[in-house]
């Protein structure tokens, strides 16, 4: 119970730090939201526009000290003049900020709320990332075990060279090459842009699957390389350990040795990767979604960076951070399932 409390406290502190970093990034950006909001207006110097700018500043607390701005950004209380009555506001808009699920609006398109937009984009990115993670694990775990069991065989050498190649090949280059090779200018096997055909916007699952093949391959191949390398090292180390030797000496069947003694133990380090693979995939989605023009969160983040929608950028940073924390937590749970020492708190 106490460890649980401590852990959740620590998680809260980390979350706070995460938001703080996002906030610092926001403040690093050139100009402030008010200037960005009215950047498109031609007559910034005229009286009305200047007045609107001042009003926007005071409504969004941009004229207040930095810590007040941070608390306002964090929520859940809205600290602006229209904020909660307990804090001296008029009470017309009591809640606001991140903790109230409010990520603000885009500067140049004030009718677009950021939170639902990010959710909408996530519904594209997350399935892609999860499918890629599944594919990566489905391929990399058997590959790594196989390599680790047959060290120094021809298969091991060649497949290791291949995974090294995959580890070193930059994603955007592979994506461009695949587009060039399999797209309309090459073999014309697969569609290379978007998730749906322009000609048949409601083209069913087959169309969607054909569009998703290349992005999923590009997202997953680097993780396959990393996971299989780790799995090979773990398998090799355990396969040459004393308890495996002892099991074999006791006459345990070879299949049982491999499955129960080697694979199960080698899976423990691989589960620590679960927490890292998801963030890699989300980071990689920035590139993959840009190259393949998929309207996911990575592309949204990049577009926001290019359009200087820094509030949207900060929202993406925070969302991916929370997802990463969730991934780390998941790998903790998995590990304690697989490794009784972790479960009992011995390690």
């Amino acid at each position: 119970m106490r460890t649980l409390l401590l852990r959740s406290l620590r998680a809260c502190a980390t979350l706070l730090g995460l938001v703080a970093i996002a906030f610092v990034l926001l403040r690093l950006a050139p100009g402030d939201p008010a200037q960005l909001r009215f950047a498109s207006d031609d007559a910034v110097d005229s009286g009305a526009a200047a007045e609107a700018l001042v009003r926007f500043r005071s409504e969004h607390l941009l004229d207040r000290p930095l810590h007040v701005q941070f608390l306002h950004y964090l929520g859940p209380f809205d600290l602006s003049p229209a904020g909660h009555r307990l804090l001296g506001g008029s009470g017309s808009q009591p809640w606001g900020g991140l903790l109230a699920g409010d990520f603000g609006r885009e500067y140049l398109r004030p009718d677009v709320e950021i939170a639902p937009e990010v959710l909408r984009r996530l519904s594209v990115t997350l399935p892609l990332a999860l499918l890629s993670a599944l594919l990566a694990y489905a391929l990399a775990l058997p590959l790594g075990v196989w390599q680790g069991l047959r060290r120094s065989s021809a298969f091991d050498r060649w497949s290791r060279a291949l995974t090294l190649l995959a580890y070193c090949a930059p994603v955007f280059w592979v994506a461009l090459l695949l587009q060039e090779l399999l797209g309309p200018s090459g073999l014309d096997w697969l569609p290379i842009l978007g998730l749906r055909s322009r000609t048949a916007p409601s083209g069913g699952w087959g169309d969607l699957a054909a569009h998703a093949v290349l992005p999923i391959v590009c997202l997953s191949y680097a993780s396959i390389a990393t996971i299989s390398r780790q799995m090979r090292a773990a398998t090799a180390e355990i396969a040459s350990s004393d308890f495996v030797l002892a099991a074999r000496a006791r006459g345990v069947r070879e299949r049982a040795v491999i499955w129960r003694h080697i694979v199960r133990n080698a899976l423990v380090p691989a589960t620590t990767m679960v927490g890292q693979v998801l963030p890699w995939l989300v980071g990689g989605s920035v590139i993959v979604e840009t190259v393949f023009e998929i309207p996911g969160m990575g592309k949204y983040a990049l577009e926001s960076l290019q359009r200087r929608e820094y509030d949207a950028v900060a929202a993406c940073v925070i969302v991916t951070g929370v997802m990463t924390l969730a991934g780390l937590r998941l790998s903790d749970v998995l590990q304690s399932r697989l490794d009784p020492r972790v479960r009992d708190g011995a390690v």
Partner: protein, 563 residues
């Protein structure tokens, strides 16, 4: 006593590392890539190494401009004298005016001196030719001294000087075809070498010094290699954090082609194209060894229209292609070995120059990550307490982001602030990669330091009463380096990939400066197939060599794991 002695173990690992299969090959590949980046200006440039020529265009312009400049100078002189007369100490405006006219005066002097030096350089060495120039020069020098001293009143009659400059225009007219005039001298110059910055010289010389050191069979070799690496990193650092030297242009080649430069001899680099030498008439040309690249005299492709090469870009219309001096002939297979991009720039030259930015950022940020990670990790593990708690919290927070995502965001958002603080985009990207990437190494090293600080020999030196600093630097730090060394190559790979990815997205090295990632961004925008292969292959080969070395280092440092 269980003692891991770095002084013994690391050289042992070094020889084990060297003995492994493929390490020598990977080292040579890496050396080749780094050499090609360092010597890129010597390999691909539009400027010749040496040039023996008369710059007739410059001579004629100088001759024509000398007299008007002197007239102008005379007018400025009167202004300055007037401003000096009106100067009152209590009137800031008059002080400012006097200062302005003085500065203008000095600018004019410099302009005149430049023209005069060009004339002296190329004018015939006969006495009759040089004497009037010398006299003018002497006169000018006397004036400049007086202007510097602020004695504007007794400069003597200026009209006389203007008249003598006017006379020069007749007496020093260059010989033109058969007509009589002055024979100009050919002079030697070094356009390419003059273009190199101090940092580039330093890096090139350090690298040259390193090559024989690798061939030596001496114990000192390791130290020499380390020293060279340090000089290299320092010059890279200096190069990344200062303004870039201007990329070379094709002025020499154009001058020769138009006849403004009368050439005696010139020695060009093997690839006589600069990385930013645009030529629209030859835009979007496939590699010239391919039959699809053949061009006829009118500028059209022999096999089919030019439009077939590109789908998205504007279709380059057929235009006669000018072949400048020193360039391979129009349909020579080596003219553009890797083709040209949408602006007609030579891709091979751009890939060679692009390696400079990519490798500089990759190597610099990798060493930054290693330095920061080892320092913070070792201190946190050794000191424990508040510093450890702080470092752990920081690491936990930084690791709760997808690292690449954070890098892109920080690189993009901070770029303008960094530019206004006169940081180069390169330097900013390096800082971002270091700031985001140090946590992994720090965690590894911290765990090792936690283990080492409880070992017997550390307890022993503590019992002996050695100072904290001595224990840390002499006994703990060398012994926690192992995990960092084992991971060093992979840190370099991820830094290299991060830089190229950030540049690919358009937030790193800004176009038109080439870097491998930025080149791929251009390739994507132009959808020209032959632009894709070379930059990506360069990244891949560099990373593969590093990964091979890293795997070997991991095995060598950890004798337990047999291959």
């Amino acid at each position: 006593m269980e003692r891991f002695d770095a002084a013994v173990a690391i050289p042992g690992a070094w020889s084990r590392w060297r003995a492994q299969r493929g390490v020598r090959f990977a080292l040579s590949v890496l050396a080749l890539v780094i050499s090609s980046a360092i010597f890129a200006p010597f390999l691909a440039s539009a400027r010749p190494y040496t040039l023996l020529a008369v710059d007739r265009g410059a001579y004629e312009t100088s001759l024509a401009e000398l007299e008007p400049l002197l007239r102008n100078w005379n007018a400025r002189l009167l202004d300055a004298a007037a401003a000096k007369a009106a100067l009152r100490d209590d009137d800031p405006r008059s002080v400012h005016a006097a200062w302005e006219t003085h500065a203008a005066l000095l600018r004019e002097v410099r302009a005149v001196e430049l023209r005069l030096s060009t004339l002296r350089r190329y004018a015939s060495s006969e006495r009759a030719a040089q004497v009037p120039l010398d006299a003018l020069d002497l006169r000018l020098r006397g004036w400049t001294d007086k202007v510097h001293a602020g004695e504007l009143d007794d400069l003597g009659p200026a009209s006389e000087v203007v008249a003598s400059a006017a006379a020069l225009r007749n007496s020093h007219r260059p010989r033109d075809g058969s007509s009589d005039g002055m024979r100009l001298r050919e002079r030697r110059s070094f356009p390419l070498l003059a273009d190199l910055s101090f940092c580039e010289w330093l890096a090139a010389l350090a690298w040259l010094a390193a090559l024989p050191a690798f061939a030596l069979r001496a114990r000192a070799r390791g130290w020499i290699a380390l020293g060279v690496l340090a000089v290299l990193l320092a010059s890279l650092c200096a190069a990344a954090f200062r303004a870039p030297s201007g990329l070379s242009t094709r002025e020499v080649k154009l001058g020769v082609a138009t006849g403004a430069i009368e050439l005696a001899s010139a020695w060009y680099p093997p690839i006589p194209f600069g990385p930013d030498e645009t030529r629209m008439s030859e835009a979007a040309r496939p590699p010239t060894w391919a039959s699809a690249a053949e061009i006829d005299e009118r500028g059209g492709y022999v096999r089919g229209p030019r439009a077939a090469q590109s789908t998205l870009e504007l279709v380059p219309s057929a235009r006669p292609v000018a072949v400048l001096p020193a360039e391979p002939s129009l349909n020579s297979p080596v003219r553009h070995l890797l083709g040209t991009d949408a602006l007609g720039r030579d891709v091979l030259a751009r890939v060679l120059w692009g390696g400079r930015a990519s490798l500089a950022v990759g190597l610099l940020s990798a060493s930054g990550v290693l330095f920061l990670g080892v320092l913070v990790g070792a201190l946190a593990g050794y000191l424990r307490g508040a510093f450890d708690a702080f470092a752990r919290a920081l690491i936990a927070i930084l690791q709760s982001f997808p690292p690449f995502f954070l890098m892109v965001t920080a690189a993009a958002i901070g770029a303008e602030r960094a530019a206004s603080a006169s940081l180069q985009p390169l330097a900013w990207v390096t800082l971002v990669i270091v700031a985001v990437g140090w946590t992994g190494i720090a965690r590894l090293v911290r765990a090792e330091a936690l283990r080492v600080r409880e070992l017997d020999y550390v307890r022993a030196v503590r019992a002996l009463g050695y100072s904290q600093g001595r224990i840390f630097f002499r006994h703990v730090l060398p012994n926690v380096l192992t995990p960092a060394l084992a991971a060093a190559a992979f840190v370099a790979i991820s830094a290299l990939l991060a830089e190229s990815s950030v540049s690919f997205l358009g937030f790193g090295v800004r176009l038109p400066d080439p870097s491998w990632g930025a080149l791929l961004q251009e390739a994507r925008a132009g959808s020209l197939a032959w632009l894709i292969a070379a930059p990506g292959l360069s990244i891949l080969v560099t990373c593969l060599a590093l990964a091979w070395l890293g795997d070997a280092a991991r095995d060598a440092l950890d004798p337990r794991e047999s291959r």
